[in-house]
Amino acid sequence: MAATEIVQEIKRPPQPPGPIKWMRDNLFNGWGNTLLTLVLLPFAAYVMFSSIRWMFVDADWQVVTNFPLLYAVGQYPRDQLWRVGVGLSLILFLMGASWGKWGGLLRSIAIAFAILFAVFALLPVHHPEFDLGMRLYLGANALLVLAGYFIGRIQSLKASYIVIGWAITPIVTIIFLSGFENSATLPAVGTTLWGGLLVTFLLAAGGIVLSFPIGIALALGRRSSLPVVSAFSTIFIETIRGVPLITILFMFSIILALFLPSESRIDRLLRALMAVTVFSAAYSAENVRGGLQAVPPGQIEAAKAVGMSNFQTMVFITMPQALRAVLPAIVGQFISLFKDTTLVVIVGINDFLGIGRSIINSDPAFMQLQIEVYLFIAVVYWIFCYLMSIASRRLEAMMGVSTRL
């Protein structure tokens, strides 16, 4: 038998076009485009030049650089900061471990966070709060991600341990943050002292984690064959979606107390979290419902035919396909939830934006420096939202949302 010879024609990929060719193709093709370029170019150059000049010459960044800890944790007692640190380090360590265990998208996220903390540690800011110890702690967090990675790589370490770790981390973090009455090591810290990015992330993460299961339940409820359940879910979803978030925030901060027994008092921050969760759950429910409708009925019939119970069909057949189909919408919902947490400023909670406002109000001299504060806040939000949307796009590509199904 003669060996078949595989002749492979190797083509060189086309060379990238030179800069002149590129400019001719993209900026000066046709007289209309040439005119447009000639008009826009000076405008774009002027805007770019003047904003860079403003950033480095005219702007006074003291309203940002003088309060690093205020932006990060608000009024959290400075001698109790290690408690915030424990929660943060725990999360970063688990992130590293998940990277080691599963890789994929988690790799990019973990590396991004490690780099972020390395940058924090080396920030050229001179401030007494930003001393060597703080820098060392931030740098250590970057290393902690790496340490987590190597531990996650150990084969004998079960993946379920990491999942359990993720499940108990929020509880541990909240216990460390709030502490106990009459405790010497963990004295209680009221949520009125919490603030800054800490609160923003707590609200966003809490809202996402809590709203998603509620959303799934509501979506299933709306599709339920029981009229009472279906009607209740539909009314709930449509009412929440029909009113602005700010009314729901006010409902929970003012009205809720009237409908509960008079002796019960719910913490202010918790009420805001409940409002954000309820609001987000209604939107998640509609996303999940969209996914459920996209699952072909044949799938469910086939599952029934091989003897799966209703519950098994839902968990192993319907849900995975439904959630994959609407993944982009779900992540988009999480991004808008993250942005929406800023509304808690209006009910008087000092989240990241609220801290910015209180810094401006703390000193009449800062009234002229508002633009610096708001731009800094805008940039921070922008970075996190943009990273989330990149992650969403990668996740979509990985799960083949557009190619399969």
Binding site: L36, L226, L258, F259, T342, Y374, Y381
Partner: protein, 396 residues
């Protein structure tokens, strides 16, 4: 007979706690009890609290004098008028900013989408920067930037930025020279109304005839002609010009006359419009890209002009994809107008909040605010869904 009997036998074998029909009824009863129980429990708590604090649940307060001012009210209002009137002013303000915002955001968003799809790299990049900037920053931060930093730095009244005779901008607001109707303008206004109505009727009739018979009826030209001729006739019927220029004049410490927008309205309007436009741009872009390239090529091949390709082939197909997400963007804009509270523009929500502070009836006021927003949302989505159903694929 035997099979029938065995199936009956088979069914009666199932214990009731495994019979799906029985289980469903039980589940219904349990969920009903749980839901009603929770509601009753909450209401009982509320009644107890209301009793203890001496709260009332009636809407009587709407007839009491409001006692708080609203700056630049769109309809006549002063603090001695009732809470109901104040609420109405708030509602008109909400509608005003929403309608202006929707129109502005649709135009800006469509332009940005076209710019994003432009073959000019620079233009496309500028649009991309605009879109990504607005999509990833919370609206509240953008509103603060507009209101506190940009409009907060406006000059005092005496040092207004002006384009003499046309525009005056200062801390009190934006003043534009505007056309105002004179007292003798009634024939002009009436003839405009008749013209609009007639041109719509003519358009519909002639267009339907064209669709039925295939004859060219020049429906768009004729109805446009009617739209122009009627106001002209009305103009000449008036004694003297029906319109006069209303120029803002500095009187003491303030401008009077002209069209005035407060900085609060301007900040909310511009912030909302630019924020929503970024989302609309993505919606429109997705819609245009969803139209198959072959459609455009085929339309060209049968000899349609560029404008015909756009209006007869691309847009009708793109609109089917665009309309549903566009509806939700419009609803978002309307709901987001409640952020006016943060910049001090008095619309439904902030009037409601002031009413709670003044009259202290949190529950009725909240019920009123929520019902108002729900009605607006449901009405908007109802009307737009009707339109959406009209433009979906017609299977003949």
């Amino acid at each position: 007979m035997t099979t029938n009997q065995s199936s009956i036998q088979y069914k009666s074998d199932i214990p009731f706690y495994r019979d799906e029909r029985v289980l469903k009824i039980i589940a219904q009863i349990i969920s009903t009890i749980l839901i009603i129980g929770a509601v009753v429990w909450a209401i009982m708590n509320f009644l107890k609290a209301a009793d203890a604090r001496g709260m009332t649940l009636t809407f009587d307060f709407l007839k009491e004098a409001a006692g708080f001012p609203i700056s630049n009210p769109p309809i006549e209002y002063n603090p001695s008028m009732t809470f109901g009137r104040a609420f109405l002013v708030g509602l008109v303000n909400t509608l005003r900013v929403s309608v202006f915002g929707i129109i502005g955001a649709t135009i800006l968003g469509t332009l940005m989408a076209l710019a994003r799809l432009s073959s000019n790299w620079l233009l496309s990049r500028i649009a991309l920067i605009y879109i990504e900037f607005h999509r990833n920053i919370p609206l509240l931060v953008l509103l603060f930037i507009w209101y506190f930093t940009i409009f907060g730095q406006l000059p005092r009244v005496q040092e207004s930025i002006t384009w003499p005779g046309l525009v005056y901008i200062n801390r009190r607001g934006f003043y534009f020279t505007w056309l105002r109707l004179t007292e003798t303008s009634a024939p002009f206004v009436i003839s405009i109304g008749i013209g609009i109505l007639l041109s719509i009727i003519v358009y519909v009739i002639l267009r339907r005839r064209r669709e039925l018979t295939g004859q060219e009826t020049h429906y768009s030209k004729i109805s446009l002609g009617i739209l122009i001729i009627f106001p002209l006739i009305g103009w000449f019927l008036c004694t003297g010009s029906p319109l006069q220029l209303d120029v803002p004049v500095l009187e003491g410490f303030n401008f009077s006359g002209g069209l005035r927008f407060t900085p609060e309205f301007a900040a909310l309007f511009i912030g909302l419009t630019m924020y929503t436009a970024a989302f609309i741009a993505e919606v429109v872009r997705a819609g245009i890209q969803a139209v198959d390239r072959g459609q455009v090529e085929a339309a060209r091949a049968v000899g349609l002009s560029t404008s015909q390709v756009l209006s007869l082939v691309v847009m009708p197909q793109a609109l089917r994809v665009i309309i549903p997400p566009m509806i939700s963007q419009y609803l978002n804009l309307t709901k987001n107008s409640s952020l006016a509270l943060a910049v001090g523009f008095q619309e439904v929500f902030s009037v409601g909040k002031i009413t709670i502070n003044q009259a202290g009836r949190a529950v009725p006021v909240f019920a009123l605010v929520m019902v108002t927003y729900l009605t607006m949302s449901l009405l908007t989505s109802f009307v737009l869904n009707l339109y959406n159903r009209r433009i979906q694929f017609v299977t003949r």
